[in-house]
């Protein structure tokens, strides 16, 4: 086997990886891939790697990994077989052989595929076809809803905007002055401002009345007709007529 092993030139570019080289070596055995000698194959591969090393060729890692794996496989195949050896070396050898068969099958298939009558090489389509033409006709689509919705949108966008201020219950300053003047007549001593507000009015009206009444008190104080006091910040505001 060794004697008629072909002389393979050491040429890294020539092989697409270790499996490619292994397949070339296997085919060189000139037997059916299913009957190749895995041991002979391993020997050849390792010898090839040795020669590459001797020539100080840089070998990519995958070549060395394959070499290490094949060296292991070789020793496992040669050693007396232990029944519980895992993984089984025979199985590993068979797997390698299956891989080679598959690569070989696809290489063969690729070659046969390319050998077929191919368009542009062996058979030709019409050189100058008139061509078929598709005339695109736009069919516009819109629903009635979209139409009236659009009109609503446009109208809403451009309609003059009218602001309406809603009626709110308020007490005017004039009314407040009149009330405070009238009520001052009945009060003798300091009286909390809240007493001058209309009873049982709704909350918003009371707040308006409070503001107006306070302003009325300030106005009447300015006229010298009443006095205002507040003992502490945020304390009750009290009014008293000036005699």
């Amino acid at each position: 086997m060794e004697a008629d092993a072909p002389v393979l030139t050491i040429e890294l570019d020539g092989w697409e990886g270790p499996l490619d080289l292994l397949l070339a070596l296997a085919r060189a055995q000139k037997v059916d891939l299913r009957r190749i000698s895995i041991l002979a194959l391993v020997e050849q591969y390792l010898r090839w790697i040795d020669r590459a090393a001797a020539l100080r060729l840089e070998l990519a890692a995958d070549w060395l990994v394959m070499a290490a794996w094949l060296a292991y496989l070789k020793s496992a195949l040669l050693l007396p077989r232990e029944p519980d050896m895992d993984p089984d070396p025979e199985e590993l050898a068979l797997r390698l052989q299956l891989r080679l068969e598959r690569l070989d099958a696809m290489r063969e298939a690729g070659a046969r595929l390319l050998a077929r009558d191919r368009i542009g090489r062996d058979v030709f389509t019409r050189g100058d076809p008139e061509g078929l033409h598709v005339v695109r006709k736009a069919r516009w689509d819109a629903s009635l809803y979209e139409l009236i919705d659009a009109y609503g949108r446009v109208s809403a966008r451009t309609r003059p905007v009218l602001h309406v201020v809603r009626h709110r219950p308020v007490m005017t300053l004039e009314v407040a002055i009149a009330r405070v003047e009238a009520l001052l007549g009945t009060a003798i001593d300091w009286t909390v401002i809240g007493h001058f507000l209309p009873a049982d009015a709704d909350e918003r009206f009371r707040r308006s009345a409070l503001a107006s009444t306070f302003l009325a008190a300030l106005e009447l104080a300015r006229q010298g007709r009443l006095a205002i006091r507040q003992d502490a910040p945020f304390g009750p505001i009290e009014l008293r007529p000036v005699a």
């Binding site: 689509d141 819109a142 979209e146 659009a150």
Partner: protein
């Protein structure tokens, strides 16, 4: 099986990207009576879907002229109208006849020529004469195809402003928002 020489001439003519003269064909197929082959091919294809045609000294295959209408087909493509187009259409429908200036003043933005063109092409609007004001602007109105498409008997079937308001279609976003706020604020 056709004569081998005739077959070769036929194949060369079929595969050629340009019309060929008898001399050019001979350069491909070698010795033989090219003219006789051309005559045979022409006769064989008479009345078929394509045939051999002579133009001056050049020969080529072409599809039969009377079948030209089969070589094209129309394809309907359903397309959505743009927002500008549907708004423009709506304005014309509600205000017809409307000029471009009318549409722009109602929409509040300029409209492109393309928008009107799309509606004209769709067959939904038509030019409806000129308005007798300075510049005599063209007016547009809707067409029967418009009524058809939208399932309307007449323009009077379009919902009026009051209907639109009732349907909530007249509320700009901030008005609707304000309504929501008020109703949440004081429910008196």
């Amino acid at each position: 099986m056709t004569d081998p020489f005739v077959r070769a001439v036929e194949a060369v003519l079929f595969a050629s990207e340009t019309p060929l003269t008898a001399t050019m064909i001979a350069a491909y197929v070698g010795n033989g009576d090219v003219r006789a082959a051309l005559a045979t091919i022409q006769a064989d294809h008479a009345g078929r879907g394509f045939g051999l045609v002579r133009r001056g000294e050049h020969w080529h295959f072409e599809t039969a002229p009377d079948l030209a209408h089969f070589l094209r087909r129309d394809r309907d493509e359903s397309r959505k109208l743009s927002r500008a187009a549907i708004e423009t259409l709506a304005i014309i429908a509600y205000h017809e006849p409307a000029t471009r200036a009318d549409i722009e003043s109602i929409r509040g933005v300029q409209i492109s020529k393309g928008t009107i063109d799309v509606l004209l092409a769709a067959g939904w609007i038509r030019p409806a004469g000129r308005r007798e004001v300075p510049g005599r602007p063209l007016t547009y109105a809707t067409t029967p195809a418009f009524l058809d498409h939208f399932g309307l008997n007449s323009r009077r079937d379009l919902p009026g402003i009051a209907d639109l308001r009732a349907a909530g279609l007249l509320e700009p976003i901030d008005d609707a928002f304000a309504t929501m706020l008020e109703s949440g604020d004081d429910s008196d």
